[in-house]
């Protein structure tokens, strides 16, 4: 069967409508912005832009949300989402830890100090995840899919990162320890084994909770086919089994490291966008210490098209939009406009996410996922503190009239 015949067969399956306007708009956006990046920067930036788009599709079609996975474990006592995340961390560290220590120059891992700012920031981020309704990646891909409430969260996420950047030099002066890359003391095999042991221990704890509540385990994270749908239709319109999303997201992060020189991150771009917006209305950001540091100052001074995280975020937004169009579900989650306490939750959640991400060396992607993939101890501290914050956030959701 030819490729076109396979495509026809997939498209002709009953009950599948594509939102042609959204799909064509997203494709036009990808072509336009991709062309601009190609003309004005360098080919490797186009590659990173496209990786961002594929990651956006994978996150949307895989419904790969860190926030819901944690909440499902706590509230519904179901652990598939959490186990999928653990599997993702394991697979990615298996690829990226040896890459980072292969001796190839030009690659830097996500390694950070164990500090007061890390503990406070990740805890605040965890609360924000549950109030805002998403994490760094979750906020971005749901906005791309047209979710209005998450657009409110994103705006305040950006504001929160900028406030955080103004305060962060003070937080960094508080007590803390130097970064602890596990490879330095354990070597590559030892670091991988230690991480797998920790991931296995958490998986055992997750299984125990699920089995105690339900008497069985739903191994949804191990499914590799969506029942009743052809693989092609599943690939284009979702929903992807977790295994597909895990594979694509793991490879995407490894390619980001290989091409861009550092692992995947999201929230520093929000920082830059917010600071640029303030500069546009006349605020001199260089009066703040953080924006005098070499890397932030360089990112602020130059075009967002030269900034890897920004370019990948643009790709992610458009990729999620494309996926939502292919699934005919663009804007589906915005039938009811946010108002009252749910609106306030989006505002407060966004601010906590942004402030927490700045203090905690990133979000669930930059600090947690890429941190574990770099075998850095700070990622494990981030994980524990953000989960603790998330527990508080889940309780607060009731007051904000958000469904659990």
């Amino acid at each position: 069967m030819t490729d076109s015949a396979v495509l026809q067969a997939g498209l002709q399956q009953p009950g599948w409508q594509v939102d042609r306007f959204i799909v064509s708009t997203a494709l036009a956006g990808l072509a336009l912005l991709g062309g601009l990046i190609w003309l004005e920067t360098a080919p490797f930036m186009v590659a990173l832009f496209l990786i961002g788009a594929v990651l956006g599709m994978a996150l949307y079609h895989g419904a790969f949300g860190f926030t819901a996975g944690w909440r499902n474990l706590v509230v519904k006592k179901r652990g598939a989402g959490m186990r999928a995340q653990l599997l993702l961390f394991g697979v990615t560290s298996l690829i990226m830890v040896p890459m980072l220590h292969s001796g190839q120059p030009g690659m830097v891992g996500a390694v950070a100090p164990i500090s007061t700012s890390l503990v406070v920031g990740s805890f605040l981020f965890g609360i924000g995840m549950q109030l805002g309704g998403g994490c760094g990646s979750g906020t971005l891909f749901t906005v791309g899919a047209g979710n209005l409430r998450m657009a409110v969260t994103l705006v305040f996420f950006i504001i929160g990162t900028v406030i955080g950047s103004i305060h962060v030099p003070w937080w960094f002066s508080q007590p803390g320890f130097d970064p602890v890359p596990l490879v330095r003391s354990l070597g590559v095999p030892g670091a991988l084994l230690a991480q797998f042991a920790a991931l296995g221990l958490i998986a055992w704890w997750v299984n125990r909770i699920e089995r105690k509540a339900h008497g069985n385990l739903h191994w949804d994270e191990l499914l590799w086919r969506s029942p009743g749908r052809s693989p092609l239709r599943t690939l284009l319109s979702g929903r992807w089994p977790f295994t597909w999303a895990i594979a694509i997201v793991a490879i995407g992060n490894a390619l980001t490291l290989w091409i861009g020189g550092s692992p995947w991150g999201i929230t520093f771009a929000f920082n830059v966008w917010g600071a640029k917006a303030l500069e546009a209305v006349g605020v001199d950001m260089s009066q703040f210490e953080y924006w005098q540091w070499r890397y932030p100052a360089a990112a602020l001074r130059d075009s967002v098209l030269t900034h890897i995280t920004s370019v990948m975020n643009f790709g992610l937004l458009l990729g999620a939009m494309l996926a939502a169009g292919l699934a005919n579900r663009f804007n589906e989650a915005s039938q009811k406009r946010p108002e009252g306490r749910p609106f306030l939750a989006a505002v407060m959640g966004g601010l906590l996410l942004g402030y927490g991400a700045r203090l905690g060396f990133g979000c669930n992607i930059g600090a947690l996922f890429s941190g574990i993939a770099s075998a850095s101890l700070h990622a494990w501290v981030w994980f524990a503190c953000a989960f603790a914050g998330s527990l508080l956030g889940i309780r607060l959701r009731l007051w904000f009239r958000l469904p659990n």
Binding site: T25, L36, T41, P105, G261, W293, L305, T306, I308, F361
Partner: protein, 62 residues
């Protein structure tokens, strides 16, 4: 079936984002460099010497 969004609103939002990106880019050192101005330090030209050395974590890209 009624569409759950306004096409015009989607296009306007995307156009605003594109205009903001273009406005930022047109006033950037990279655009000046691409337009033939020498002596401009761009983020991309700085990346090569930066690569391969550990960037202080508090400044890095997360």
């Amino acid at each position: 079936m009624e569409r759950p969004y306004s096409r015009v609103r989607v296009l306007v939002m995307l156009a605003i984002i594109l205009v903001l990106i273009m406005a930022d880019h047109l006033s950037s050192p990279t655009f000046a460099f691409n337009s033939g101005q020498g002596n401009v330090e761009t983020a991309l030209s700085q990346q090569a010497p930066l690569a391969g050395r550990p960037v202080p974590q508090h400044e890095t890209d997360h």
